[in-house]
């Protein structure tokens, strides 16, 4: 895993299924299933290769290796790895997409000021 981690890391293993709203102030690694919403405004979310996230996501950074269905608002950056399957609109300052990643949705690249406004 090479997520842009910024401190402590919480992990949701591949056998874990969560339905509801997740929020926190540490980086989160999801290799299981999450359905609902994820809010990590100053931290990063990584969806592991087995991860299946069906949620709206707000985070500083988002790395996707598995499946993510829902809109993503990242104040810093979004990385779609080659195994990523993303369905939803993405707004971020920076985005990187590896060859083979699948994305279905709108991409909105925002300046720093816009991204901060969107996060509020």
């Amino acid at each position: 895993m090479s997520a842009p981690l910024t401190g402590e890391l919480a992990q949701i293993g591949k056998s874990v299924v969560i339905k509801g709203d997740l929020s926190g102030s540490e980086d989160l690694y999801v290799d299981g299933q999450v359905e609902g919403s994820i809010s990590l405004k100053t931290n990063s979310l990584t969806v592991g290769p087995n991860g299946q996230v069906k949620a709206s996501v707000e985070a500083k950074g988002v790395v996707v290796q598995g499946k993510l269905e829902g809109n993503v608002a990242a104040s810093d950056r979004v990385e779609l790895r080659k195994s990523a399957v993303v369905t939803g609109d993405i707004s971020t300052q920076r985005i990187s997409i590896e060859e083979g990643a699948y994305l279905k949705g709108k991409i909105d690249i925002q300046g720093k000021a816009e991204a901060k406004t969107a996060q509020k």
Binding site: K67, L80, V85, E99, Y102, L103, K104, I107
Partner: protein
């Protein structure tokens, strides 16, 4: 037109190269080509503001950068990959195996009417399953703004049945970088979340449209302009 194109399909299907034709070296090789159609479109996106662009090819970071850097909105939707969803396979009234175009359009190209200024079709019509081509073009007509433009590439017969399917990256105002698409054989999650393997080894040229077929395909559009390229490809710029 259907019978002609179906004959070409029969001619082409099963005659393409096997997996050995899709070596990693070939897949990673990038070719550069000039595109007159792209050059004409570029004049629009270089002079107009806040355009809404739909890219129907493989997800391309260079294309996203190209449009967002100019202040345009870009939507990405890889229709060829979406068409490999196994749940789409059904049979028509004659018992022929086809893809369910209604289901396909219920899951894809779901946008408001008259939403897009520019649609980049690339080589989609040549590789998309026959049962999806007309319904997809019909949906594109409805989601494009009047006066909106669509760019598509069509092979000529000289291209041959084994013409590889490429992803297209915009690297200049009239320059494309082309990279061969190789479908991975391992199971992967499709757009709807189902784990599956592709229904074919790779995207194969399904048919060759002649100019009349192309005009017929886009008959509901306001105008059509052809650009003949040197690499056995006709570029077509269609205005809604």
């Amino acid at each position: 037109m259907a019978s002609v194109t179906q004959n070409f399909m029969k001619l082409f299907r099963g005659s393409s190269g096997g997996p050995e034709a899709n070596s990693p070296a070939q897949a990673s090789q990038k070719l550069t080509r000039r595109s007159s159609g792209l050059g004409e479109l570029a004049r629009t996106w270089d002079t107009e503001k806040s355009l809404c662009v739909l890219d129907l090819g493989s997800t391309s970071a260079p294309n996203i950068r190209h449009f967002t850097a100019r202040g345009h909105r870009i939507y990405s939707e890889d229709l060829l990959t979406a068409s490999t969803e196994p749940g789409l396979v059904t049979k028509d009234e004659q018992g022929n195996v086809v893809l369910d175009s209604r289901k396909f359009l219920a899951d894809n190209l779901m946008y408001p009417a008259a939403h897009f200024d520019i649609v980049l079709c690339w080589n989609l019509p040549d590789y998309l399953d026959e049962s999806l081509v007309r319904p997809v073009v019909g949906r594109l007509w409805s989601v494009m703004k009047p006066g909106g433009m669509l760019l598509a590439f069509f092979h000529t017969r000289d291209a041959g049945p084994d013409s590889p399917c490429y992803r297209f990256h915009i690297v200049g105002s009239d320059t494309l970088e082309m990279q061969r698409i190789v479908l991975r054989k391992e199971a992967r999650r499709g757009p709807t979340g189902a784990v599956h393997t592709a229904i074919t080894d790779g995207f194969q040229l399904q048919r060759v449209f002649n100019n009349r077929h192309i005009e017929n395909l886009f008959r509901d559009f306001a105008s059509i302009k052809f650009f003949l390229a040197r690499d056995n490809v006709r570029e077509v710029l269609v205005v809604r």
